[in-house]
């Protein structure tokens, strides 16, 4: 299906549209379930009455003050992780790539631990500084008369592994109580989010999403061989720089509200691409998949009765089986 306007024409795949609306529906269901479930369960009717504004104090407080910020933060962070992961995977033409490749998460962990060890506070500023400095350093080190994917990957691996090891060393310098607290933060948690977090992540998303939507067009060409992409009119290195910067901004946004949730950025892209098919980067679908995975992980984290487990533990438990199922089903159909 092709949409023609006076100034541009767009190609719409029917499958992409139907998969997109299906994913959106799933996200909506997860959202409603997430509002209802918890230590104070609500019925569907009660949920509705809370949103339409006629309900008593406690119920209203629980939903508006506690659950909604947490849920909206989860959706925003998941979407940001999903888009960033999918962009990196397409740009580097490597299904194993995720923002970890550029060292952001390792730098953030290291920065957070360093801030904690030196000052006893400032975890978040430390993480942001560490992550962004690492990302810039890796890109700068990889820049050699242009940005080459393979060199970026290698330098990213080197920096990432070294920083992870530094984080391990720093971890041993902390006392046991702080170390346990930091370990929880490093896994990524959504406990006690408030409306400030929601505004932060959604403002960031509102600013970056238009750019991401536009980047979809170059992304669908940049995954071809260098010669072909250049022949199609892409200036490769500046475009790679722009994509990297956008993806890093998305990850920074997500980490600042949810911590370095593992696996979301990695798993969203392959799931979305396998659902949509047709070889398009499917960045926006990845965003919805990321949001669903993060939200479900948060629901799981809240429903496990034993002491507040961080949501980061569950992202892989939820995301991995879906990917495995897709691999299995599509293998049988021979469509992979």
């Amino acid at each position: 299906m092709i949409l023609r306007l006076p100034f541009l024409s767009l190609h719409f795949s029917q499958r992409a549209a139907s998969v997109g609306s299906g994913l959106f529906l799933a996200l909506l269901i997860a959202f409603v379930a997430s509002v209802q479930l918890g230590a104070f369960p609500l019925s569907l009717q009660q949920t509705w009455s809370t949103f339409s504004g006629n309900s008593e104090g406690v119920q209203r407080m629980i939903v508006i003050e506690h659950r909604l910020p947490r849920i909206l933060t989860a959706i925003g962070a998941g979407a940001a992780f999903g888009m960033a992961g999918s962009m990196f995977q397409t740009m580097l033409r490597n299904p194993l790539a995720s923002p970890d490749v550029i060292g952001f998460n390792a730098g953030a962990s290291c920065g957070a631990l360093l801030a904690m060890a030196l000052t006893g506070d400032f975890v978040l500023p430390g993480a942001m500084t560490g992550g962004i400095i690492t990302a810039i350093a890796v890109s700068a080190l990889a820049w050699n008369n242009g940005l080459h994917p393979y060199r970026l990957i290698l330098i990213g691996i080197g920096a990432s592994l070294t920083l992870m090891a530094c984080a391990d060393v720093l971890m041993t310098k902390l006392d046991a109580l702080t170390a346990a607290e930091m370990a929880k933060w490093l896994v990524g948690t959504l406990n006690t989010r408030d409306w400030d977090d929601v505004f932060l992540v959604w403002t960031g998303l509102a600013l970056l999403t238009p750019l991401v939507i536009w980047l979809q067009f170059p992304l669908s060409r940049i995954c071809m061989a260098d010669d072909i992409a250049t022949g199609l009119g892409l200036t490769l290195s500046p475009m790679r720089m722009l994509i990297t910067a956008t993806a890093v901004a998305l990850v920074a946004l997500a980490v600042s509200v949810a911590g370095p949730l593992p696996f979301v950025a990695f798993v969203s892209g392959p799931i979305a691409r396998r659902l949509v098919r047709g070889g398009s980067p499917a960045v926006l679908h990845s965003a919805v998949v990321g949001a669903i995975v993060t939200l479900l992980a948060d629901i799981a984290a809240r429903s496990v009765p034993i002491a507040q487990l961080p949501a980061g533990v569950f992202t892989a438990i939820i995301g991995a089986p879906v990917l495995m199922w897709l691999l299995l089903v599509q293998f049988r159909k021979g469509t992979l």
Binding site: N94, P95, L96, A97, V101, L141, N144, N145, G146, H148, Y150, R151, I153, L154, I155, I157, G158, A159, S160, L161, T162, L163, M164, A165, C166, D168, V169, T172, V187, P262, F263, F266, V267, P270, I306, L309, V313, F314, T315, A316, I317, G319, A320, P321, L323, M324, L327, L328, F331, L336
Partner: protein, 343 residues
């Protein structure tokens, strides 16, 4: 960095250069081994190392330290480093992916999961029992990855995704089990730290047949990999039975990696970094790659184990962490210096 380094494709080092590098790494390994026997908590002299092997006195504490503690530790580090290096080279060659590490076949995650479950359900606490459990868990996970990856028609892309999914699932499951049970965590965290601390000769002797078998599979595997790296269709055209070759190489990786995990815990970094270092030195011919990966892996592991004994790192930092601290900057430096050569 000047402009021309990027445009010149990586030169393939001649046999001369390779021979020199090989000699240098063997020499380095011997020197490092001497250091590893000499330095530690208890100070010993060069003469005592010599006499510990030529005129062993069973009651001399220095001799006991050298022969019963430092020697097994050194041998363990050499075996683990070279096994992981070779497994990494085979893995990256087979999947043609620079981000692939040998743990990607699920061995490390499966071994961890096996150990956690056995502590939790059977209340095991003795690290000596974990050798077989880790090996078994690793094999089960690898089998799962293989089946999910498409069985004997596996293609690298699907195998990678299957491996990453299975590993992540197993690691997350064992992590959540650990968060639930404090007692399990207490036993597990010592196993996962691993390193070469309490290694005894009996453990090494148990695992030696596995490593030898892995090596026996790896060498023919490396011969086929040269063809396989041209792409599967090309390899098929050259007369390689792709499915069989991939199966054999996969088995070699699983055995080498499984033996290391059960000896020294899950060490992820070495298998990922070492092949890149080897490729930079020896070019991309898989036969040389395998040698260099084994040599550099052993070198890195012994150096890491030695550096971990420095007081700066608390006197006993795990070798895997130290390997990453050393290997990462070296990798970055080599990539900056030599430019890019593809897999």
């Amino acid at each position: 960095m000047t402009a021309h380094t990027a445009s010149v494709p990586s030169e393939h080092p001649g046999t001369d250069a390779r021979g020199r590098w090989l000699g240098a790494s063997v020499l380095g390994l011997i020197v490092l081994s001497m250091f590893a026997l000499r330095f530690g908590v208890r100070p010993t002299g060069w003469g005592q190392i010599w006499s510990a092997f030529t005129a062993f006195q069973p009651l001399n504490p220095e001799h006991i330290v050298i022969r019963e503690i430092r020697l097994p530790r050194l041998i363990g580090a050499i075996l683990a480093g070279s096994s992981l290096g070779m497994a990494g080279a085979l893995m990256q060659g087979m999947t043609r992916n620079p981000l692939a590490d040998p743990g990607l076949l699920g061995v490390n995650a499966g071994a961890s999961m096996g150990v956690v479950v056995c502590i939790l359900i059977f209340g095991m606490t003795d690290p000596a029992d974990f050798v077989w459990i880790a090996l078994g868990g690793g094999l089960v996970a690898a089998l799962l990855v293989y089946l999910l990856g498409g069985g004997n028609q596996a293609n690298p892309a699907r195998l990678i995704l299957a491996g990453a999914a299975v590993s992540a699932l197993f690691l997350a499951l064992s992590r959540s089990l650990l968060l639930v049970s404090q007692q399990t965590l207490d036993v597990y965290r010592f196993w996962v730290l691993g390193g070469f601390d309490g290694i005894e000769f009996s453990t090494i002797l148990t695992l030696l047949p596995f490593i030898a078998f892995g090596l026996a599979l790896a060498i023919p595997g490396s011969l086929v990999l040269n063809a396989l790296m041209l792409g599967e269709d090309m390899a098929r055209g050259l007369g390689v039975r792709v499915g069989l070759a991939q199966g054999l190489i996969g088995l070699a990786i699983v055995i080498l990696c499984g033996a290391t995990v059960s000896m020294a815990g899950p060490i992820a970094f070495v298998g990922l970094i070492v092949p890149h270092l080897a490729r930079r030195i020896g070019g991309s011919d898989m036969r040389w790659m395998l040698f260099f990966s084994a040599g550099i892996g052993a070198l890195l592991m012994v150096a890491a184990d030695l550096l971990g004994r420095l007081p700066l790192f608390g006197g006993n930092m795990q070798a895997g962490v130290m390997a990453a601290l050393i290997g990462g900057p070296v990798l970055i430096w080599l990539v900056r210096r030599n430019g890019v050569s593809k897999l």
